[in-house]
Symmetry: none
Subunit: 127 residues, 4 copies
DNA sequence: GTGGTCTAGACCACC
DNA sequence: GTGGTCTAGACCACA
């Protein structure tokens, strides 16, 4: 994972990273996620930054902590993560996308077939 | 203009920059565009990098050069620029978008109303 | 190889050099050609200059690259190389030749016997 | 005039220059040609070099000198110049040309139409 | 190792 | 002034 999107703090980028794992069910509800220090090493980031991410996700209700044990995915994390990512997507990615589509004269309908193709490909690779 | 999109060379980012101006008719066909050195100073970039962009756009048929005079927008630049940007959009932006949409369970139809809202806003700001 | 033909950039002279090897089948389709740095050392030229040549030949479809591996001669390189060299010959060498022929009152027919002699000599040396 | 053909001494390049003027009848038989010093200045060359050229052309019978007056074109200079240039052409230019033609699979016949077009163009520009 | 990008600075030809 | 070429040297990603 690389951190380069200027304007987006690293701790939020890591929050995206965690939420995506939750949505993909890679990190399923109830599961223990990596410790602050572990993830900090994995992502080559300061532990304080990961701490801030976990704090943020705890407030969102995506994870909770058992003192002295670690952090765990909440039962309704998938829904919470989806809500968060969706909001993030709407506010940050969509405007950029819409600008391109507007310039190119594309409509959402024009993406249909390509999107279906993408999903098909994605599922095949998954298997 | 800032250059931060990793994975996308600066000279191609500048090409996008020029193509968007062409599509918006800010730089209309026949018009002289900034000299290599001028744009290099404006964008705080090495002249060689801008030279490379202009070379690239010359090959695409978006601009042409008069030696000793400068670079000019070709007559069919709008079409050429649209083709290039569309291809670029399809190859680079769409996959990222689709990934987000897939994760969030969104379909192209779900973007319709937001896109119409965006277009409306855009046109109001334009006026 | 020496670079002295004024008016012809070095990187294009190197392109001629490569194309001639392709036409002579010294560098046959599919073969790996010298790396950018290798050829730069061989020709006592800056690597950037060779890079520019390879970029140019890639656009012509004479060679293609495998990132991290090297450059290779394409399957239809011979045809592509011939087209390029022929165009170059027509635009650059022929006018000089025709001027001399015009001054000397020579016609293409007058070259026939000499050309046949040349080809004969060439083939003998080849054997 | 620029002197860059390596392997061909400058004084011979100037001889070509003079002979071409004779063949084009720009410097007609009997005419006084520029003095050694004059031509040396024109061509930005050392007078000794021009002296050597004139010496060479005197031996060829293309020019002769009247001591204290200057150099003049001989009566049969056109023929002599043609012989010299032709020999030069045959020995130096043709091999290079033939190599290209051989590589490209061209025959002298293939040049016919292009040469006729060239002559036509040349004569039109002359008028 | 490979290709690819970028900078800094130089020089040239053309206008 | 303009574009165009070239060098030297640096850094990156990929394999």
């Amino acid at each position: 994972m690389q951190f380069y999107e200027k304007g987006q703090p690293i701790y939020l980028q890591i929050a995206d990273y965690v939420c995506e794992r939750v949505l993909q069910n890679t990190w399923e509800p109830g599961r223990k996620i990596p410790s602050v220090r572990e993830l900090a090493v994995q992502l080559a980031v300061n532990p304080n930054t990961v701490m801030r991410t976990y704090d943020f996700l705890k407030q969102l209700g995506v994870i909770y902590d058992k003192r002295g044990i670690g952090y765990f995915v909440t039962d309704d994390a998938i829904e919470k993560a989806r809500i968060y990512l969706k909001e993030d997507f709407m506010n940050r990615e969509l405007p950029i996308l819409f600008r391109s589509m507007y310039l190119l004269g594309l409509e959402p309908e024009d993406l249909k077939s390509d999107f279906n193709f993408y999903k098909q490909q994605y599922n095949e690779n998954k298997q």
